[in-house]
């Protein structure tokens, strides 16, 4: 066997493995839809309901949907830092940060209920140590983003996520009788999950639902017209956000009839361009740490942009 044969075989095996993983990606949301597993968390959620509803105390709800690295309820250090800063900056808001946007059951990848949990436990451990193999979690969650954006599976996945967000809003004291505005903050792939759920949430809760997508990766066929406002934060040094705009044809300016382009024309979408912010890690939108003394602190700027976006007039069309 020549070196080229081995290389070819390895490439083919990798391609088949990727295709198989993508093939199985919709299974979780489809089995949720088909009611193959009982939803046991209802009683637990009810037990957690606060006595006084938070809607009476808070002027708005902010739901944070994390990026595709997330396999458990833990956020990376700089994300925790960002959330703490944001909570200080917007004290009148109730924050929902305990959602895993890549599982309609809100299940950790390492949860024992999952057949592959031993595998994910090892990968998670490697990710925690900074090993590149931890990227498998990103890949798995990226496939969920693709499921959410798919024409056939999207509406099912997005209904699952909407239900999850609804439950968590109620769990945190959202009062549907006295609804207050909601903002979904989607970081990276969380942007697609927010895009898939926002309009549906707005229709069900009859309250304005806006989205702030930080380096947002989303398709252009989501119902952008049915939500209050979309703020897209991007940067000249963020290739991931740019690639998403290329990967999904409905985001191409050429397709004027797409929901994304219609929403842009109706003024429902606004862009905030950052200079020098990376997609993730040091120097990213949410990180206090910078690559050099000359580059500014992106975290502070992001907080300011979010504060300003939260002031966008809110109304239901």
């Amino acid at each position: 066997m020549t070196f080229l044969n081995i290389l070819g075989f390895a490439f083919l095996s990798l391609l088949m493995a990727m295709l198989l993983a993508m093939l199985l990606a919709p299974f979780e949301s489809l089995s949720w839809w088909a009611e193959w597993y009982p939803e046991e968390d209802q009683k637990k959620v009810q037990a957690l309901l606060p006595e006084a509803t938070a809607s009476d105390k808070h002027k708005q709800f902010i739901v944070y949907l994390d990026g595709i690295y997330q396999g458990t309820f833990w956020h990376l250090g700089f994300i925790e830092d960002f959330l703490q800063e944001l909570m200080k900056a917007v004290p009148d808001a109730c924050f929902v940060t305990d959602i895993i946007p890549y599982s309609v059951f809100n299940l950790r990848l390492t949860d024992k209920v999952r057949p592959l949990s031993p595998f994910w436990q090892r990968i998670q451990a490697l990710q925690n140590k900074g090993s590149p193999i931890g990227f498998l979690i990103n890949l798995r969650n990226l496939f969920q983003v693709v499921v959410s954006a798919d024409r056939r599976y999207g509406s099912i996945y997005n209904q699952g996520m909407t239900k999850l967000i609804l439950r968590h809003l109620l769990m945190h004291g959202f009062n549907p009788q006295k609804p207050v505005p909601i903002t979904l903050i989607g970081y990276s792939g969380g942007g697609q999950v927010a895009a898939g759920s926002a309009a549906l949430l707005q229709r069900i809760l009859k309250t304005p639902v806006s989205v702030i997508a930080i380096g947002g990766v989303m398709s252009g066929n989501n119902n952008f017209l049915g939500l209050n406002h979309w703020t897209q934060i991007n940067s000249n040094k963020d290739p991931v956000e740019k690639m998403a705009a290329l990967f999904f044809p409905q985001r191409w300016p050429l397709l004027r009839g797409s929901l994304w382009n219609k929403a842009k024309r109706q003024g429902k979408v606004s862009f905030v361009h950052f200079s020098g912010a990376r997609h993730t890690g040091v120097g990213c939108y949410l990180n206090r740490q910078t690559e050099s003394a000359e580059t500014s602190n992106q975290l502070e700027r992001t907080i300011q942009v979010i504060k300003k976006a939260l002031e966008v007039p809110k109304h239901i069309h």
Binding site: L23, L30, A34, Q46, T53, A149, Y153, L170, I204
Partner: protein, 225 residues
């Protein structure tokens, strides 16, 4: 055992040849001993693979895990039935329009072989890329049909192309005319056999998804606030 392994290896090699659109592989497979059995296996595998590729409809229908395999097999049969109707219409065009002296079984074997790329149709279920894969497989099959028809008839590539497209158009016309009643019969059969109501009608499937959106409102009443 060795003979069996050799036979399997030989057939696999020929199938790879068909996938590469190699005309000789078509002829060699048709001339094989027990060719009909090989074709039947191929057809069943294509049916099953296509059924997996379209299995999203079974999930939308909320088919339970116990019934899933049976309903999947019946969906495979439905795919095979569709292919057979397409064979019939293509055969009619080749035989009566182009005046080719061709037996039914030779035509059937050729067209089944030409559908070999559909063995990969389970990958149609891949999110987003599935639609591109579906288009790619359809084009691959079209090319294979053209090669296959030129091997067993005296048709040119252009005539073979027209036969394949014409056959498909006639099949779609028949499906538009008789598809709905056929779906109704299949649904009644499935309901009787598996105790589950399965719809394959795109409009009805969309309606079920919409109903799901409406049912989300129930979440608000689940909690006494």
């Amino acid at each position: 055992m060795q003979a069996f392994q050799r036979a399997v290896g030989e057939r696999l090699e020929l199938f790879f040849g068909v996938l590469r659109l190699d005309a000789r592989s078509f002829l060699q497979l048709i001339d094989l001993q027990h060719a009909s059995f090989t074709m039947l296996l191929l057809l069943l595998s294509i049916g099953l693979s296509s059924a997996v590729g379209q299995s999203v409809v079974l999930f939308i229908n909320r088919v339970r895990p116990v019934q899933f395999v049976w309903v999947l097999v019946s969906l495979g049969n439905y795919v095979i039935a569709g292919l057979l109707f397409w064979y019939l219409s293509t055969f009619a065009i080749v035989r009566f329009f182009w005046q080719q002296n061709l037996t039914w079984d030779l035509m059937l074997q050729t067209l089944i072989l030409a559908c070999t790329p559909l063995l990969f149709s389970l990958f149609i279920a891949v999110p987003v890329l599935g639609l591109i894969i579906e288009l790619g497989l359809a084009l691959w099959c079209l090319l294979a049909v053209m090669v296959g028809l030129t091997v067993v008839t005296s048709l040119t590539l252009g005539q073979a192309f027209l036969s394949a497209i014409g056959g498909w158009l006639v099949y779609r016309l028949l499906y538009t005319l008789f598809g709905r009643p056929m779906l109704f019969v299949i649904r009644s059969l499935q309901t009787r056999l598996f105790g589950v109501v399965v719809t394959l009608d795109p409009a009805e499937l969309e309606l079920r998804i919409k109903e799901g959106e409406e049912s989300l409102k129930k979440v608000l009443t689940e909690y006494r606030l």
